[in-house]
């Protein structure tokens, strides 16, 4: 992503707060400093791009900083084939997508009971869910690994889907319950007077009203699950089941991969994340604000 330095046009001077002369220079220095800092943040991406298209020979002769001598795509292709990238991509999409949808459904059901039904002890239940989301996954991993083996779910995507559905739903319940606890009662009562049952009210009255929050949760659950590492690393050992991050890390583990292939692999692995980010930028921004607003 290029940082464009927008030159200030005449419009900048007609602001309500007139610049005082001593600040005229300062603001440019500040802009320059922040821009340099932002560029430094992007340097690793530039390095990665530069070296993803180099041949191993080019890399070892000319080092990591030189411009590639040719547009070499064999590294990308090697990585693509070596790790069977389309399979990994599909696994990640399948797992993250299923988790996002299932976790939202579970969150909505639980939050309906907690936020609107206000069942007894709901504050304790919400606190429990919140703590569950904060737990270190190490505290669950061995029993989960053990049970999955016993149940024949080890090395299946289903095991990972179930686990993350619960972990993400724990957060979703917390957030949605607090949103629903301020749900306008009059709407619910009007629907009840019209003879709608709880089930109908949930889908016809509550759901349409919290759709913005739900879409934020969908995006977040998808990305969080996509980026998860420990549980997929332990649960998915097979080429046919692994996700994108696990495949990249396990390939790096054998230390045989040359630098250009490492970079090609990293580039391929982050492209879906960047694409997703660009598509859902607004939803994400809204979500970050929603999360911070409590």
């Amino acid at each position: 992503m290029a940082v464009t330095l927008t030159p200030p046009r005449a419009g900048g001077r007609t602001r309500r707060v007139p610049d005082r002369h001593h600040r005229g220079v300062t603001r440019w220095i500040v802009l320059a400093l922040v821009t340099v800092a932002a560029l430094v943040m992007l340097v690793p991406f530039a390095f990665m791009l530069l070296n993803a298209f180099k041949s191993p020979g080019d890399y070892s002769n000319n080092g990591p900083l030189s411009w590639p001598t040719e547009f070499y795509t064999t590294g990308l292709r090697t990585y693509w084939e070596q790790v069977d990238f389309p399979v990994k991509l599909w696994n990640s999409i399948l797992i993250s997508g299923s988790v996002a949808v299932l976790a939202v459904v579970v969150s909505l059901l639980s939050a309906y009971a907690l936020g609107i039904g206000r069942v007894r002890g709901r504050l304790w239940i919400i606190g429990l869910f919140l703590l569950a989301n904060m737990l270190p996954q190490e505290a669950l991993i061995y029993p989960l690994y053990h049970f999955a083996k016993e149940a024949g779910l080890y090395n299946t995507r289903l095991a990972v889907i179930i686990i993350f559905t619960v972990i993400q739903a724990a957060f979703g319940t917390y957030l949605l319950a607090s949103v629903l606890s301020t749900f306008p009662r009059t709407l619910l009562e009007a629907a009840a007077l019209d003879g709608a049952g709880k089930w109908r009210i949930l889908w016809r009255v509550v759901l349409p009203n919290v759709r913005p929050t739900i879409s934020v949760l969908l995006v977040f659950f998808f990305i969080w699950t996509w980026n998860e590492f420990l549980i997929p690393l332990v649960m998915l050992i097979d080429n046919q089941t692994q996700t994108v991050p696990v495949a990249l890390a396990s390939l790096q583990g054998d230390r045989l991969m040359d630098a250009p292939t490492t970079n090609a692999g990293a580039l391929l692995s982050l492209l879906p994340a960047i694409l997703f980010f660009l598509v859902f930028q607004r939803t994400l921004a809204r979500g970050i604000t929603a999360g911070a607003d409590k």
């Binding site: 690793p44 639980s110 009971a113 991993i141 009662r185 996509w226 991050p245 630098a259 980010f277």
Partner: protein
């Protein structure tokens, strides 16, 4: 209102019996709703509650993962107390909190204020948005990918040493992650890079909530940047600071992926953290009981820290409300 607002009138979660105010509804208002809690509760017990209790039990046993665990009481915890690796891993957690919470929050506060107050208002807002995107980008990519890229940059034949060679500082070349002396500071620097965008984005969103007239009034009164930062920016975004502090502290205590991708806890445990230590003990040393004890201690610390954070936040909010 035609229908009395009985449900809303119920005081919070206190299981008080229906009062005389709601004579027309003898039925408890929440009857029937608990059914909706069932799927979440059952899955929660199976995937989180049960396993957590089981890990707690395993921490009291010696077990390699096959056969039956043998109960040994608190022996694992006693061993932990004298285990140097365990203490190193917790010392490194403090380093991770510095790198993932303290520094990103401080730098993020200043950056967000500068982007919002100076750049967003004196240049076009688009400039601030583009700069913000650059800071946020590392947050988008899977943290393992970040670990792999940085691992390569910091390799002896990687980009950082190449950069030093190119500018004539070849003498500074170093095996950054291979040397126990530099590995931890370098990992900390990478984590700052990864984390920085999160507070910047959250704080900038928070600042949009602030009435711009506050800033303009302060400026007309002659308040400099620093005074505006302290008197307006900091108090206005305190709720967000708490949220960032809590979420980042927990992330720092649980950090695993970057360590796995960068150093696997090495060299000589210089970058080991409790999460990686537990993983290694479970799956490489096949010492499930001991790994469980490490996990339980980590869990306990995280719960305590989270509770302290939330209580501090509630106290601060009450104080603000009282003023």
């Amino acid at each position: 209102m035609a229908v009395p607002d009985t449900v809303a009138a119920r005081p919070g979660a206190t299981p008080s019996p229906p009062t005389g105010k709601t004579p027309r509804r003898p039925r408890r208002p929440d009857a029937g709703y608990w059914l909706y809690l069932l799927p979440g509760a059952v899955m929660f017990l199976l995937v989180i509650g049960g396993p957590l209790i089981y890990t707690g039990y395993l921490s009291l046993t010696r077990w390699s993962g096959v056969g039956d665990p043998s109960f040994i009481g608190l022996d694992n915890y006693r061993t932990l107390l004298t285990d140097d690796v365990f203490w190193t891993s917790f010392r490194n957690t403090i380093a991770m909190i510095v790198a993932m919470v303290v520094l990103p929050t401080l730098i993020g506060l200043v950056l967000a204020a500068v982007l919002f107050d100076t750049i967003g208002r004196r240049f076009r807002p688009r400039t601030a948005a583009a700069l913000r995107a650059a800071f946020y980008l590392p947050q988008v990519l899977p943290v393992v990918v970040a670990g792999i890229v940085w691992g390569w940059i910091l390799r002896p034949d990687g980009a950082l040493n190449g950069l030093f060679d190119a500018i004539g500082l070849g003498a500074l070349s170093h095996d950054w992650l291979g040397d126990p002396g530099t590995a931890l500071p370098v990992v900390m620097a990478v984590m700052i890079w990864v984390q920085l965008g999160y507070p910047v984005v959250v704080f900038m969103a928070a600042l949009e909530r602030v009435d711009p007239e506050l800033y303009e009034a302060a400026e007309i009164d002659g308040a400099g940047w620093w005074r505006r930062f302290r008197a307006i920016t900091l108090p206005q975004i305190r709720p967000e600071t708490f949220v960032v502090g809590l979420t980042c502290t927990i992330a720092a205590m649980k950090v695993f992926g970057p360590i796995y991708a960068l150093t696997r806890g090495g060299p000589e445990n210089a970058t080991n953290v409790p999460s990686y230590f537990a993983y290694f003990t479970f799956f490489k040393r096949l010492n499930v009981g001991y790994g469980s004890a490490i996990s339980m201690v980590l869990t306990l610390i995280i719960v305590v820290v989270a509770v302290l954070f939330i209580r501090a936040q509630n106290r601060a909010e009450r104080r603000d409300g009282g003023l």
